[in-house]
């Protein structure tokens, strides 16, 4: 059916032409580069192997905004990458250049391809000969049993040697965290730098305090204080305990802080307020020491007012 054949060929030719046009269209105008594309070609400098597009950290967010601004201003992706490389060094680029070490990235796969093609050609051209696979001729009984016994002995020694090697290496390396008390709440946080994380904790706890969720805030401050023995943090914990209605614990923590730093104004403030809440007679003395130490403290005016009133139980002024 020649007609059918001609029609089929014509149809194919038409499709080919249309496909060619479509391809040309796609290559001709690849469209403006997006922020995501450029961000995916930059490494986040503060993260573990994430690109700027993937990372959720503040630095990466700021870098994405810079990329967006520069692309909107009309710069090309290469210009943006160069700009970043000038400020952060070459290691901010996610893809190594093709020169120097980077050429290995193309050479090694190239060699693999050549080896694969060579082996395939060899397999395809394999000359007949040699016949079916030769199975070893059954050896004589005595020789084989000696040989197999020796092989078995050798293998047994090998396996036990491997176990011994792992045991020795493991004892040397895995001495970490054996039976003595390792830091129990070790959990390595995966994603954030210590700075951001602790700050976020404090932020969160403050937000909870603002909402009146003192109990939850106490938990968070406690966890933070366990991680970071900063006296400021412990005083915040003490203050949250105070507002959560647990002045006894608050006083205990404030006393610990004052033991290390006797002249700490905030410590005296929290201790004084806690003692006041537990109706301890030492309260006014402590508060007066606070006033002498830090007369310009933001809370000083309220404390003066408190001292001039009748001493009553109740939580301290909000601060």
């Amino acid at each position: 059916m020649k007609l059918r054949r001609i029609l089929a060929l014509a149809g194919l030719a038409a499709l080919l032409a249309a496909a060619g046009l479509a391809t040309w269209r796609s290559t001709h105008d690849s469209g403006a580069a997006t922020v995501e594309q450029v961000a995916a070609s930059l490494r986040c400098p503060a993260c573990d192997g994430e690109t700027v597009a993937q990372s959720r950290s503040p630095v990466a967010a700021a870098m994405r905004e810079v990329i967006a601004n520069q692309l909107a201003a009309g710069r090309s992706p290469d210009q943006v990458r160069t700009w970043f490389a000038q400020r952060y060094g070459e290691e901010v680029l996610a893809d190594p250049s093709g020169r120097g070490m980077g050429s290995l990235l193309w050479i090694v796969p190239g060699l693999a391809l050549l080896a694969g093609v060579a082996l395939s050609v060899r397999t395809l051209r394999h000359r007949p000969g040699g016949g079916p696979p030769r199975t070893p001729a059954p050896p004589s009984a005595s020789a084989s049993s000696v040989r197999t016994r020796r092989a078995w002995d050798l293998a047994a020694v090998g396996v036990l040697a491997m176990v011994a090697a792992v045991a020795v290496a493991g004892a040397r390396a895995g001495g970490v965290g054996s039976d003595d008390g390792d830091s129990p709440a070790a959990g390595t946080p995966a994603a954030s730098t210590p700075d951001d994380a602790l700050g976020r904790q404090i932020d969160l706890a403050k937000a909870l305090e603002q909402q009146g969720e003192y109990g939850a805030a106490v938990e968070i401050y406690r966890a933070a204080a366990a991680a970071d023995p900063d006296p400021r943090l412990r005083l915040r914990l003490a203050f949250a305990l105070l507002r959560a209605g647990r002045p006894g614990e608050a006083a205990g923590i404030a006393r610990q802080v004052l033991a290390d730093q006797p002249a700490d104004a905030d410590g005296l403030l929290v201790l004084g307020l806690a003692e006041r809440a537990t109706r301890s007679p030492a309260a006014s003395g402590t508060l007066r020491r606070f006033l002498r130490l830090a007369p310009d403290h933001p809370a000083a005016a309220d404390v003066r007012r408190l001292l001039s009133q009748q001493p009553t139980a109740g939580s301290g002024p909000g601060g």
Binding site: E50, V108, G187
Partner: protein
């Protein structure tokens, strides 16, 4: 108490594994009866199961005197995630690995009742040796049962990213089942080298075990991609991250090995390729384990730094040396003789597939190891980002797509070019039409356009290959459309569908990130997300900040999205949880990256990911096709009804 019991189980498992290895070696060398060895193998499995059960018990009972529970357990963690925290960190995941390895050994040992071959005990020796190494590694270097004094009152819980999605319970076991399963084809390959023979039974066994592990690995990888998409918050599913690459590398060589087994049932000219590729697959499994667990490469997915690195590296080198030595020693024995066939025979196509997949594996491996190499040689650690992988791997994958469409249409005995061309006319037309239609209506860019066209080509060619012989000489494909063949074709179709999804979601995805006050909106591709409010709610031991977004398209409200920032106080991390609205035509993906402390503004990222669901569907189809292909060739009347899952591998495939 639980800790001590667990430690004893591990020790018992080590002893049982050593015994099993040596007993199977006796069976192989001296034809001793296999029942002692089989019992030792079952004992190994029992010990591994006991150790896992002990750790689960300790986790569920919050026994913080056990070090692993002290580091990864927590009273506030929901029960489902307490159970899955068995594999949330390195030591526990090694227990899961051991359980699966021992399971494969026991499964392999069971099948000896069907048919004894000389290769079978050798294979079991190899599997048990691997078990010995990993038992020793866990027991001596990464023992989760070590005790902690004083026992803390509570623990921090597992990594927050692992507590957000139910996939945590499915993905690791599935991935490990596929990953560790590659030990069996490797064992058979070494058995062939050690015993010096191959044959139809060996080939059938290798094929079935490779297929099982391959299907599970495919499912594991696709599930992992879906899970990262749903949880990590940046909207992508594959970052060419070293840990992701570590799971992909053995998949590539296993696919090549699988195809090489198709070159012939009785006498396979590609036997050497099967052996080499199976060995390479397991070596890549070990290298991947090394990269993931040693902390040598930086990745969000990797476990923390551990002392296992040198030991794993030592084992990798040992296995590589053994494999190399055996290959060189045995290379004198020739493969079965076969006259060179016509160039268009399936053998050439299968070899081409193997070369392409090995090339892809080389690209991925080089890119993954390059940071280490550059640091060792040059002093500066250069990073390799997605750009290199996309530029290098995509063209190779496109060529593989072409081959994937053409190869099933080639007659096994060979084809004249004209006949093959006639069979390819309709698929080629389908491909060109797709390119024309998509390219004229939109501008996806050259790689995506090629992917669309080739995917259409493959789907049409696969449909053609699935249809049994049609009328007319020269057009009939004389291969019975058995379930096995359909399984293989389904896998090809699945890859093509996944390729379409990957191309569409990479070419047409659009996103925008803006800082919004309440009432403001961000728009992407006609979809608008308006910030309605910001809520704060306590969540477990921390807090969740939820941004309520109203989604609109074309003026009409289509729904609400609630992306969250969740803070875990015990672990001191913030996790950004996306809100995904999945529809067949695509996903709407919203994340909140930052919320101001006054609670009135939030930085919101809105993305539209078209057709990304095809990636998951295609992947599922590929895995399913693999499982279908496990079906026996012909069920003999006396045999028990065959199951699609792999219970009986060896002795099957009677030619």
């Amino acid at each position: 108490m639980t800790g001590r019991f667990g430690g004893w189980s591990l020790g018992a498992g080590l002893v049982a594994a050593v015994a099993a290895t040596l007993l199977w070696l006796r069976v192989a060398l001296r034809a001793a009866p296999a029942r002692h060895a089989r019992r030792a193998t079952w004992a190994t499995l029992a010990a591994a199961a006991a150790a896992c059960a002990a750790l689960e018990w300790a986790l569920l009972r919050h026994d913080f005197g056990v070090r692993y529970v002290a580091d990864n357990g927590g009273r506030h963690v929901p029960p489902y995630f307490t159970v899955t925290s068995l594999w949330a960190a390195l030591d526990g995941s090694l227990l899961l690995w051991l359980l699966i390895l021992a399971g494969y050994a026991a499964l392999l040992a069971r099948s000896t009742r069907r048919r004894t071959t000389t290769l079978h005990p050798w294979a079991l020796t190899v599997v048990c040796t691997v078990c010995v190494f990993f038992f020793a590694l866990t027991y001596f270097a990464a023992n989760p049962f070590r005790s902690v004094h004083p026992a803390p009152a509570d623990g921090p819980g597992p990594n927050p990213l692992l507590q957000e999605h139910p996939a945590m319970g499915v993905h690791p076991p599935l991935l490990y089942a596929g990953y560790a399963g590659m030990v069996v084809p490797f064992a058979y390959a070494l058995a062939a080298l050690l015993a010096g023979e191959t044959g139809p039974a060996w080939l059938a066994a290798t094929r079935r075990w490779t297929l099982l592990a391959w299907s599970l690995l495919t499912a594991g990888i696709v599930l992992g991609a879906w899970w990262s998409y749903a949880v990590l918050g940046w909207g992508g599913y594959w970052a060419w991250d070293p840990v992701e690459n570590a799971s992909l590398l053995p998949w590539l060589t296993a696919t090549a090995a699988l195809h090489a087994t198709l070159a012939g049932r009785r006498r396979n000219p590609l036997t050497g390729w099967v052996v080499a590729l199976s060995c390479a697959t397991f070596l890549l499994v070990l290298v991947g384990t090394f990269l993931t667990r040693s902390g040598a490469v930086a990745s969000v997915h990797s476990f923390t730094q551990s002392p296992l690195g040198p030991m794993l590296l030592g084992f990798v080198l040992l296995v590589a040396a053994v494999v190399g030595g055996l290959l060189i020693w045995r290379s004198g024995r020739s493969a079965p003789a076969r006259p060179p066939g016509p160039p268009l025979a399936r053998q050439a196509a299968l070899l081409g597939n193997a070369v392409l997949l090995v090339l892809l594996a080389a690209i991925v491996l080089t890119g993954t190891i390059f940071p280490l190499a550059s640091e060792a040689l040059g002093g500066a650690r250069a990073a390799v980002g997605p750009g290199y992988f996309n530029r290098a791997a995509v063209p190779v994958a496109l060529v593989a797509l072409v081959l994937m469409g053409v190869a099933p249409l080639i007659r096994p005995g060979g084809d004249r070019p004209a006949e093959l061309g006639r069979r390819l006319v309709v698929p080629a037309a389908a491909g060109l039409a797709t390119v024309a239609a998509v390219g004229l209506l939109t501008r996806p860019g050259l790689p995506a356009l090629a992917a669309f066209g080739l995917a259409a080509f493959v789907l049409a060619a696969t449909a053609r290959a699935a249809a049994p012989g049609r009328a007319g000489p020269g057009t009939r494909i004389p291969v019975r459309a058995t379930v096995r063949r359909l399984g293989g074709l389904l896998s090809h179709a699945g890859i093509a569908v996944a390729a379409t999804g990957i191309a569409a979601s990479s070419a047409y995805t659009a996103s925008a990130e803006r800082q919004l006050s309440v009432g403001q909106a961000v728009t992407v591709r006609g979809v608008t997300a308006r910030l309605v409010g910001i809520d704060r709610a306590p969540a477990g031991r921390g807090m969740a900040v939820i941004a309520r977004l109203a989604l609109e398209r074309g003026g009409a409200t289509i729904g609400t999205a609630r992306p969250q920032l969740r803070y875990y106080a015990t672990r001191d991390t913030v996790v950004s949880l996306p809100a995904i609205r999945s529809r067949p035509r695509g996903d709407i993906y919203a994340t909140v990256t930052q919320v101001a402390s006054d609670g009135r503004t939030a930085t919101v990222r809105l993305a539209v990911n078209p057709l990304v669901g095809l990636v998951w569907a295609g992947g599922a189809g590929t895995a399913l096709g693999g499982l279908l292909a496990l079906r026996r060739r012909r069920s003999t009347p006396a045999a028990a009804p065959t199951a699609v899952t792999a219970g009986e591998p060896v002795g099957a495939g009677r030619p």
